[in-house]
Symmetry: C2
Subunit: 354 residues, 2 copies
């Protein structure tokens, strides 16, 4: 009935990952191996101008409207953690991916892959948490799908959320649009989400509890656009791979250098302590309610003020700038006054963080 691929089809297809015959956990961690897999396999196969931009969302015109479209599957382990659960994480995460293009998220889908045996109480808790998150963000879940897999063939619950938003302005907000002279603003403390998951998973107890920062940032983005207008050049929610991965992707896409100042990057004491204990660098740890934005110098003060006036941006700070030299590289002035290169994360730091 149809031509199925023969072996010859694959002989000519480049193996995406040198040195690996099988998928490793690190292919999903948001670092170099994920990038390889995405660009050498998925983007090469599905090749089209919208996908090839490799942003966290697709932006296109449809029937005269400019829309943003994004998808994310959530496989976080455990599904309940301090500060949130897989439900609000899934709603907020996709809202944020859409919002980072400067779009206003409007509608979400929800696809559930449930492992046989999950308690209906737990599923109900997750669903109610999604309901609250959607309501808070004023976004509607309008379509869904439910699949159940046999015991031992899943892990309690995976959720895919996809979403559609509308872009109501003409600004160019994209990973390849950073301009030398831009100021970089970070909306708050980093590494909260990743360390909340890890502490819970490893059974670590700290004096002050570490909570995930999961939050929908669409209303914060609206304030940023109001304040910065066309001076807003790029936005990103630094999830897997943390702030380090986002900045490296920006530096590469825009062919610019990025300089940041460690002193201006806030880390909660408990989070910093946990990172130190576990030998992790907070710059590489996932956030789920924070954003970084690259804005023209002229609007930086306005944007910063607008962010500080918003509940999700109270601790916002200018933490870096975009420069012409050291193109593609991210350098950080450390607390003790030296400079170090902030590399793209390579392997697996924290699997199944989202």
């Amino acid at each position: 009935m149809k031509d199925k691929p023969g072996t010859n089809d694959f002989a000519s297809c480049p193996r995406p990952i040198t040195g690996h015959d099988t998928i490793q956990l690190s292919h999903g961690s948001g670092g170099k191996l994920t990038n390889q897999l995405v660009s050498r396999l998925f983007v090469e196969a599905f090749d089209n101008p919208i996908l090839n931009r490799q942003d966290d969302q697709a932006v296109f015109e449809l029937a005269g409207s400019k829309l943003a479209f994004s998808t994310d599957s959530y496989v976080v382990d455990p599904i309940f953690f301090p500060g949130g659960d897989i439900g609000d994480l899934a709603v907020n995460g996709t809202i944020n991916d859409i919002a980072m293009s400067g779009a206003r998220p409007v509608y979400l889908s929800a696809g559930f892959i449930i492992e046989e045996g999950l308690s209906i109480d737990e599923l109900t808790r997750v669903v109610l948490s999604m309901q609250r998150a959607a309501e808070e963000a004023q976004v509607k879940i309008v379509t869904g799908d439910t699949k159940v897999v046999n015991r031992g063939k899943g892990d309690k619950l995976f959720i895919n959320t996809s979403g559609v938003g509308i872009i109501e302005h003409d600004y160019n907000i994209a990973a390849d649009n950073l301009q030398p002279g831009d100021r970089l603003i970070l909306s708050g403390t980093i590494a909260d989400h990743g360390m909340a998951i890890l502490s819970k998973r490893e059974g670590l107890a700290f004096d002050s509890p570490i909570e995930s920062d999961t939050a929908a940032l669409n209303s914060l983005v609206a304030e940023i656009l109001n304040a910065g207008g066309a001076g807003v050049h790029a936005m990103r929610d630094p999830t897997r791979g943390g702030v380090a991965a986002s900045l490296n992707e920006w530096a590469e896409s825009s062919s610019v250098g990025i300089k940041i100042t460690q002193e201006r990057i806030a880390v909660r004491p408990a989070v910093a302590g946990a990172c130190e204990l576990l030998g992790l660098d907070p710059l590489y740890v996932a956030n789920e309610g924070k954003l970084i934005v690259s804005v023209a110098k002229e609007v930086a003060e306005n944007v910063l003020a607008a962010m500080k006036a918003h509940a999700h941006g109270e601790d916002a700070a200018v933490f870096g700038e975009v420069v012409t030299d050291k193109s593609g590289m991210v350098s950080m002035r450390t607390l003790i006054g030296g400079w170090r290169i902030v590399d793209m994360p390579v392997g697996e730091q924290l699997p199944r963080i989202c």
Copy 2:
């Protein structure tokens, strides 16, 4: 940081499934338990007019355009089967869900949940199969996501596809729009997909191989709309739960009776044989490249001719009609001339068929 639900929240929340404390495989099989879970838990929680229609896709206006938006997660086991694989199944399935609203599918997303250890060769085969399916259907995959879960916490590969389409007409095509007097047309043989999966899974061998019918139906839908115009009242691709589930949902949503004639429902001999051997009724077995359409009597001949002229509708036939009596029920005139009720499927027939 945020109010997490206490136990009290759930005390007032109805348990969606009487008699079950945990999720069963049958909650995902497309029958009565899936319906209960969806309507009593998901729809009740996410409550909004678009979702509440409980169609296979959301239809809404956004910035003056009428759009369709749909999502499906694919967990088919095995991931390669005669006639297709999880890749083309995922692309075709979501294209079909969008097309059934009368929309023209335009863009898809692809979310991969990969089990650690999947061979990169197998992943590549699936991705190339998605590429071919998207190309054939003239739909673009514009955004994606990759997650990897630990060995033993997934099952090789799950794929979510979501998609957006545009509705370029004013016809009302919906599950609640069947009209007494409508003719029901089926586009071809039934039960091919389900029996292909089951035969492969159970290692059954038949004289003639059973192949999945996975196919994108968007171009067939375009021909149906051309031929039938506003006389096209409802369309559905009868996947999980088969033709029986789709017809029952229609009869209930539209408060009409449905009468079908077994003689007009084509089943390939090998498929019929396999069904008999395994004690399955082909009416309840999943299809992945077939559709049923309810059209006004006046346009039935035109629509049938247009379908027969299309590669995916060569075996199309009028197989039933919509009546006023026995509201909510589906009755079938059997081969031996009697009548029997075709019930909504209750439990698990074939798990992980898509």
